[in-house]
Amino acid sequence: MTELRSLRKTRRTRDARRDGEFSPRRKVPRLHERPWKSGASAPRPGARRIGFSPRGAQGLKAGFLSWVPNAALKGPLFHAGVPGRALTTLLLAVCFVIQTHAQVTFDRLLNSTKEPQNWLTYSGDYSGRRFSSLDQINTTTVHSLAAKWVYQTGATGKLETTPLVVDGILYATAQDDRAFALDTRTGRPIWMYQYPVPADIRPCCGHVNRGLAILGAKVFLGTLDAHVVALDAKTGSVVWNVTAADYRNGYSFTVAPLAVKNLVVIGVSGGEYGVRGFIDAYDAATGERKWRFYTVPAPGEPGHESWEGDSWKVGGAPAWNTGTYDAATNQIFWPTGNPAPSNRGAGRAGDNLYSNSLLALNADTGKLDWYFQFTKHDEHDWDATQVPVMLEAGGKHLIAQANRNGFFYVLDRATGKLVSANAYGKITWSDHKDSEGRPVAKAEASPTLEGHTVCPGALGTTNFMAPSFDPQTTLFYVTARDQCDIFSTAPQPYEAGHAYYGSAYFPSEEAEPYRGFLKAIDPATGEIKWKFEHTSPTWSGVLATAGGLVFTGDAEGNFVALDAASGKPLWHFQMGSAVYAAPMAFAVDGKEYVAIAAGSAIYAFALP
């Protein structure tokens, strides 16, 4: 390590010399020689700058920023107007250097919309809307968008990661539980950490990981063998590593954790193994577990009566996608997955709480405030693990989810009461609603021994692919598919660590060919304002930006920018591999980037 450090130091000096012709850089004194002028921008003691430019230039930028407060944030990147562009040019001329904050405080996470150059959580902010207020890349300029760099992770399989970006450094994961940090301007790696994944893990649905959380000076990784690992954000060294559950019984983590206050919140995978699902919160400083909420209640707890006999012990209800957080009520909203066995209800009579639900948990204690169950007593593997998105409409605090069962649900965030539920894809499982407006399953939708066709299929109308809500168009964008499956029962005994489905499903040949869409839903009415049909169904998530654009990927390998208002494709780039990840946006040196993972690589795009 010491050798490595000295090597880095040598390189830095050499690069600084090579760059010496840029006089502003060279003349600025080193950090320890000169105090910072802008307290707000000054790094904490011990902070190491990234990139190859001399430290002092940061001070220059800090000084410049204090001279034109907010200009860097609100001017060039937020508005495409002429003064903004002029300012961009000015900034670009002066600021070659990335501004680094040392710590990602909870306060910064809470106010992440104030620093749109960064992407601090899985969904970009606590509301889960995956919206970037950057607008340099917009409907007018997007035609000249071009790939700036590609980083090959070296991992094979499905890359589902959403990168985080903090002050010029990009942090992401690959499916084999590696984590890495890149220079956002060049894609060059700063560090790489490979978690030692046991050879005998058998996670459901492949080896995947959807990303990291960041808090303080650490990034947090959930692993395929159900560990939570804290890494030093500057080096990738392990700070702590705790075991959440025994992977040999089918527990794993694939989710990007969510940092809230001083906690790292994470939900477990394993619904296909008969796990007992849970959501955990760990002290970010020490790794000590502060609370655990079991998504399947034990005897004596409310909701336990919704399970037959001992079925609760292997009841599933995993929590494998990232939730959201409302600071106003201190509630974490976290979605849960299918009851186990996933496709056979016999032996687990009842609603099977809290499977396929949205949970509102007190962030400090993990205590349940309210829940809403989307699919009761599920027999079709319709996990409700889609990102719940917080919206404000008509003075109401709402939370919306495009559910795997084919309905778009809007709930009152304060109470968990249903506001509306509208189908946004092809469904045959429900033909009426109950008195509260919830879609009710038809009895004949249950799988049979011979098998019969139900829509949507087991993969759902949507799945883990992250949606986006655009506060400018007030539309909710979601990747959707129309596919029906034949569901047939296949009774299976529970055996620890073994697959536990109780049924088989396969595509129905009699049904229409499978179709994939990007749909723009008006949350107020449930109406589909526009849809863009893909050549075949995609697993890509969606990003909306203030540039009036929606970005998504397709199964044919294209990264596509569409007009957020109309759905018209405006730009595309062929990345050479089907997309299983969601895009995100960031800015560095006054330049907006959009990034997405595809194949084994992370691609970053910007204007020339």
């Binding site: 396969f506 199964a555 294209n558 089907a578």
Partner: protein, 285 residues
Amino acid sequence: MSLTIRPERRGFFFASVCLGFVLLATAACIADDRNPFAGDAKAAKAGEYEFRINCALCHGLGAHGGGRGPDLTRAHKKHAHSDAELFQVISNGIAGTVMPANGTNGQGVGMTDKEIWQIITYIRSVEVKAPVNPSGNAAHGRLLFYGEANCSLCHMAEGKGGRVGPELTSVGGSRTRDAIIDSVRNPSRRLAWGLTESTKEFPQEYETITAVTADGKEIKGVALNEDNFSVQIMDTSEEIHLLEKDKLRSFTKSRESLMPVYTAALLSDKDLDDIVAFLISVGAK
């Protein structure tokens, strides 16, 4: 699977010592290769459910084959005869075919060794012991295929024939008789798979494309590949056209196959049987 012996791991220094170990290990392997559940009806039942979960997608609910996978109730299997060979095929897949390795088909978590043996036990329990008599005359079928039935105008088998339709050398080994007959009588009911890309969920199908270029030229053919912005077509003269959709005057895609519907009036049941017998004889090689 722990059946493989890896001599390269053993040091040169130990070569002579290891000979004995290798012999012992080989004996152990033979023991491991035996199905521990052979003939066990309970294991066969468990295997039937595992089969539904893991295999029925392509091989059909009763292992009678589906549109994508061969009929496993046939006593003669192309890629595996012994239980040990079946175990290998299920574990590792079959290179060059759509048969995936265990746990890699994107559905579920894969099977344990025990579950694979249960599935093999199930397959054995449903096998039709007597080999199915090919009802047709393969020699006559060959004449028809390359001759008056016009199959080889579009389809290739054993290196001879056209390129517009799917290559059929292996189809007799991987598809059921019923599936082949169905695809001749109802070619549009289930379009054949074309290009399969490693990261993509669905393969390209033999869809019919009609495109009109900016200068008014109409191109009709099968899709070699397609995305939202471009399409690669082979027309009936086997010319390849690489087209950008936004430069076309019109673009239409149809799931009506370019292959004509071979009704009984066009091709008798007997002649079709002969052609199927020919394809099965080629596919079995």
